[in-house]
Amino acid sequence: MSDSKGRFGVHGGQYIPETLMNAVIELEEAYNHYKDDPAFNKELTDLFDEYANRPSRLYYAEKMTKDLGGAKIYLKREDLNHTGSHKINNVLGQALLAKKMGKTRLIAETGAGQHGVATATAAALLGMECVVFMGEEDTKRQALNVYRMQLLGASVIPVTTGTATLKDAVSEAMREWTSRIDDTHYCLGSVMGPHPFPTIVRDFQAVISREIKQQILEKEGRLPDIVMACVGGGSNAMGTFYHFIEDKEVALIGCEAAGRGIDTFETAATINTGRLGIFHGMKSYFCQDKYGQIAPVYSISAGLDYPGIGPEHAWLHDTGRASYVPVTDEEAVNAFEYLSRTEGIIPAIESAHAVAHAMKIAPAYDKDKIIVITISGRGDKDCAAIARYRGEDIHE
């Protein structure tokens, strides 16, 4: 594999059509040029601080801590960012980069709609055209976000192929990119896809762990014992882990969507049920059958409803540096309701997967241990779906 770039152990690489190769090479060159450019970084930091409301708070969840009776729990409040999730971090970085590259049009895939909304927002701000691909199933689950994207000036294209969810939206965005490269940047929303996307997205999301580290040192004078986040493709988790990877005393836990359980077919827990494969531009773990056909995965959370995981996560799993645990729909919904009642914070159903696992493990730890949970997004978008899950029909 001497020519292959962007490897994390055996994972990563660039498994894409020849048509896109020069586009990703051009992107890599531009990124390598701008990532250490002081003017670019100042512009991005200004956007983060002045526009996206960074740094996000590291909040001591005192009631939750006392209620669970174990480790001290902090919440990294990415839900308080402009547009309501961590997605804006990556999008502002990529949109700014695309603009510097002379691109005038952004395309994106979206699952829950958070990445689509963030991309539509950045496009509006920077005066770029925006087209978002979204599985038809998800346009129904997340109708409010479809409206938000359109309000921001983007066109939303419902994808009807395959399972009509996130993986099909990614496939369709890739197809669109092969047909229009000159003026278009594919603003990929997670730490996945072909190199250099997993690295670029990680670097833009790494602001999360950079801030956590600084904030926890200010508040506690030491590093946390555990940092945890939910994982679909894995961008908020990668951002949460990144600056702690070298701090071996900090445990890293990714919470996967188990759907109806990892012993059923209705699951999206890639590390727990998948195996090594090649898809969407990368070698990594995927939910698939014995012939390599990608599995139609399921989760209540549209944002975690993806059959793969970013290559750097696959590598962190291989090396044992991070652990990945499954969390079911039922556990996530319970955590969604628990955090709302206990702390007055309605988390995204995606983030609720991480909250659910913290609820399981925190009581067993001593009171002097510290757990940081990244709340990747806010849960307003999920209220109608959770109500339905509980048998109540409310109109959005």
């Binding site: 020519d3 190769m21 192929t161 496939s171 092969t178 494969g277 056909q293």
Partner: protein, 259 residues
């Protein structure tokens, strides 16, 4: 020299594509025999994949129809074996598989490619395996003398020489940006691409993506060594279902005559 060279030995090559198992493998067998009898020089056999990211809607749907029928890689291997060893009319012309990297990788690449050699598959086209990633498959392909086909796209530019120099079997020139599918017009400067290819290799090159009419095929084969047609054939299969072998054969004859 691989068997693929035979396809280009007598003038321009016509290369039809078929998705295996659409609508079922019995029909696929009939279609392959009909293509061979009507002048096809090389046949591309598509092994369906759940998420074919390089395909337009026509071939995407054929992939899904085939998978719904329960087609698997092993069943397709069996079909090819039967075609090659048929007591009355064995298929002798070169055949290649067209599928996605994961289909080969998850089967165990060595086992997949060894089986290709055993059953008489001469080459492999993997549209999601660019030059930079072909190393891990290339070594195995060389070991079993199966040609890993290189693709060149309208955006390849400075990459053409590098790709052409390492190419084996034939070079697949992608005529247009985007995915597979019928196009009314091909705007890429194919002659320049072909010229660059020929400056760097003696391996033949054929043009595919967007070709459906005899006139387009004649034009593309005229400036290269052959024409590849997929979506137009898959449309006939979708239209005629289990009775597609006849109409596909007529179409192949018409296209071959045109080039």
């Amino acid at each position: 020299m691989s068997k693929i060279a035979d396809a280009f030995a007598n003038g321009k090559a016509f290369i039809p594509f078929i998705t295996c198992g659409d609508p079922d493998l019995a029909t696929t067998k009939e279609i392959i025999c009909s293509m061979a009898a009507n002048g096809a020089d090389l046949i591309e056999l598509g092994i369906p994949f759940s998420d074919p990211t390089a395909e337009g809607p026509v071939i995407q749907n054929a992939n899904l129809r085939a998978l719904k029928q329960g087609v698997t890689t092993d069943k397709i291997f069996d079909m090819v074996r039967e075609l090659r060893t048929d007591a009355v009319h064995p298929i002798r012309l070169p055949m290649v598989f067209m599928t996605y990297a994961n289909v080969v990788f998850s089967y165990d690449a060595e086992k997949f490619i060894r089986t290709c050699r055993e059953i008489g598959i001469d080459g492999l086209i993997l549209p999601d395996l660019p030059f930079e990633e072909k190393g891990e498959f290339d070594a195995i392909c060389e070991k079993y003398d199966v040609d890993l086909i290189s693709l060149i796209a309208p955006t390849s530019e400075n990459r053409v020489a590098m790709i052409a120099k390492k190419a084996r079997g034939f070079i697949y020139i992608v005529s247009s940006l985007g995915v597979t599918g019928v196009r009314s017009e091909i705007k890429t400067d194919i002659p320049s691409l072909v010229k660059l290819v020929r400056e760097n290799t003696s391996v033949p090159c054929a043009v595919g993506f967007g070709i459906s009419t005899p006139a387009q095929a004649a034009k593309m084969a005229g400036i290269s060594d052959g024409a590849i047609v997929g979506s137009a054939i898959i449309k006939l299969v979708a239209q005629y279902g289990k009775d597609a072998a006849g109409p596909v054969g007529e179409y192949v004859r018409k296209m071959k005559d045109a080039i």
